[in-house]
Amino acid sequence: MSTFTVARDDFRNARRSYIVLGVIGVFTALTALIFVAEIDIYDDPYRVLFDVLFFVSFVFPLLLAPLAYLSIAGDRTSGAIKYAMGLPNSRAEYFAGKFLSRFGVGAAAIVLAVAVGFVISLAFFVSTPDVVRFATFAGITLLYTFTFVSMFVAVSASTDSRSRAMFGTLGLYFVLIVFWFGFLPLLNIGTLLDTVESLLGVTVSEDTRNYVGLLSPGTAYLQTCKAVYGGVLGQYESFAQFETGDELYAQTWFTALVILAWGVGSLAVGYLRFQRSELG
């Protein structure tokens, strides 16, 4: 019961500060824009989803960061936590309430954006959108949202400083997205493995590289979205980016598990740190 109260109060407080409206509005608008922009380019709405999923993997965590990084650290800095924890809430209930409220906002943004994309597809695209593909996409993206909100709330629970919460959150984004995807030519997971090779004088096999490459929730999300394209993987050239072999790392369930593990793991670490911490 008190988890619900904490979550409701947190959601109300956030909603009235317009951050909720901001996250949901911006994400839905940008997703809609991608759909509208591609009406005349592709016949198949699922091809648009492919561009949306790249957008989600790079940009959505940047919208979730401001939403979640102060969820608990903010209460600890301001002292509002003394109101919440002066009441008979256990630390677990408080933590869960905060997480659920922020995850709820992220999830609402995904559901609304996918729904809007579906409606645009239905109205303007040559091929009829496939409900199952859209639903699969929404499901995998909700898992991705769960994991990033979990990581950011965990960072927030681990510190009583706003700046540390911000650095922690941006640090995670940099390592798991920018670094792992290889946005920077000299600073990415590939060059790191090259360095390991030359320093230790060993050869890192292609297989190992592929495994390591898919261990970030970002890259794993991309690969997991292969599940959206059952039966149509040959339709577009871009779909060749999905790993299709028999190896474990090419399996959708495996990469989905990778995403889930990041989320569950960080929730566990964040909760334990919060549970043991002292509240000013």
Partner: protein, 322 residues
């Protein structure tokens, strides 16, 4: 029954000792004043009682539950007005109170609580982020009162309150005590707790330097009052007859004024008669006894009558070298 039992509590932050070997027992139904200057360790102690901070050494038991391990059970029966709190800026005052009632599983009427603490109904429906300090203080007092707690922990409850608010706070504390609640009232101003507390404990530099009833503290310092008589006297006025009056603690003479400090309030009139016998009294002023000076002496580390330790059972007097 003991509402609050603190045994050998020490709290360190790195090298800083915020609270040192604190022993204190507060009985159920008691109104206890927890006094001390800023930084004496009062809020740290309170944070340990609520499970916010973990003791470095020692234990605290609140309403029969261990403060650290059974914090939730403690907080379900405690009403808290903390120090250094904040409200949720976009929630209304009423929402704060309603959530507190919900979390405690109580059935209070939020509007009745808000009225009781003197928050205007219109204000109660505005975002609490817009509140003045006094309004926030009233709101948090209301939050503390929800669910008829067995123990009220009020940390500097009057800070930011106007005189009317302080008066209301006092009568609420009395009402709660009449209901049977224990009240643990922390303050750096003695005058504030003097009027409502049965006993007080004085903290200084992390240590409890005195625990006693207000009356005993008063007696100990000889706080029976002060008589000041303006006299048309020769400078060589003989003060000995006045000094020998039973209950007189000190007599000074200078600048045409005889100042008599009494240990017993009943000594004032006989002392005045002796002055009148010796010379002509042109004016008389009587100062009400105040504990301020005693409080100052304790918290400056110069407690009076060191050979006569305070009669409180758990007082420790180790000086203020922390």
């Amino acid at each position: 029954m003991t509402a609050l039992q603190i045994d050998g509590l020490t709290k360190r932050f790195g090298d800083v000792v915020a609270v040192r070997d604190l022993n204190l027992a507060v009985e159920a139904g008691e109104v206890f004043g927890f006094l001390g200057p800023n930084g004496a360790g009062k809020s740290t102690t309170i944070s340990v009682l609520l499970g916010f901070l973990h003791p470095s050494e020692g234990t605290a038991t609140v309403l029969g539950h261990d403060a650290t391990r059974e914090s939730r059970a403690v907080r379900s029966r405690v009403g808290l007005l903390p120090e250094g709190y904040d409200v949720y800026p976009n929630l209304t005052g009423r929402e704060h109170v309603a959530s507190a009632i919900e979390t405690k599983g109580a059935d209070d009427d939020p509007d009745a609580v808000i009225e009781r603490v003197g928050l205007a109904p219109d204000d109660a429906r505005r975002p609490a982020g817009d509140y003045s300090t006094g309004m926030r203080q009233r709101l948090m007092l209301g939050v503390a009162l929800t669910g008829s707690p067995d123990l009220l922990i009020l940390d500097e409850p009057s800070s930011g309150l106007d005189p009317q608010g302080i008066k209301r706070l006092r009568s609420i504390v009395r009402e709660e005590a009449e209901r049977g609640a224990t009240v643990f009232f922390s303050s750096h101003i003695l005058g504030e707790v003097e009027k409502v507390c049965d006993r007080v404990g004085i903290m200084n530099a992390g240590e409890l330097v005195a625990v006693d009833t207000i009356d005993d503290l008063r007696e100990e310092m000889g706080a029976g009052g002060v008589v000041e008589a303006s006299v048309e006297s020769p400078p060589d006025l003989d003060l000995d007859p006045i000094r020998t009056v039973d209950g007189v603690r000190d007599v000074e003479h200078g600048g045409g004024v005889v100042r008599v400090t009494c240990a017993d309030p009943r000594a004032k009139m006989p002392a005045l008669r002796r002055i009148d016998d010796a010379t002509t009294v042109t004016d008389v002023a009587v100062e009400d006894a105040s504990l301020e000076s005693l409080f100052e002496e304790y918290t400056n580390g110069t407690a009076p009558n060191p050979e006569e330790p305070t009669s409180g059972e758990t007082a420790t007097q180790q000086g203020g070298d922390a």
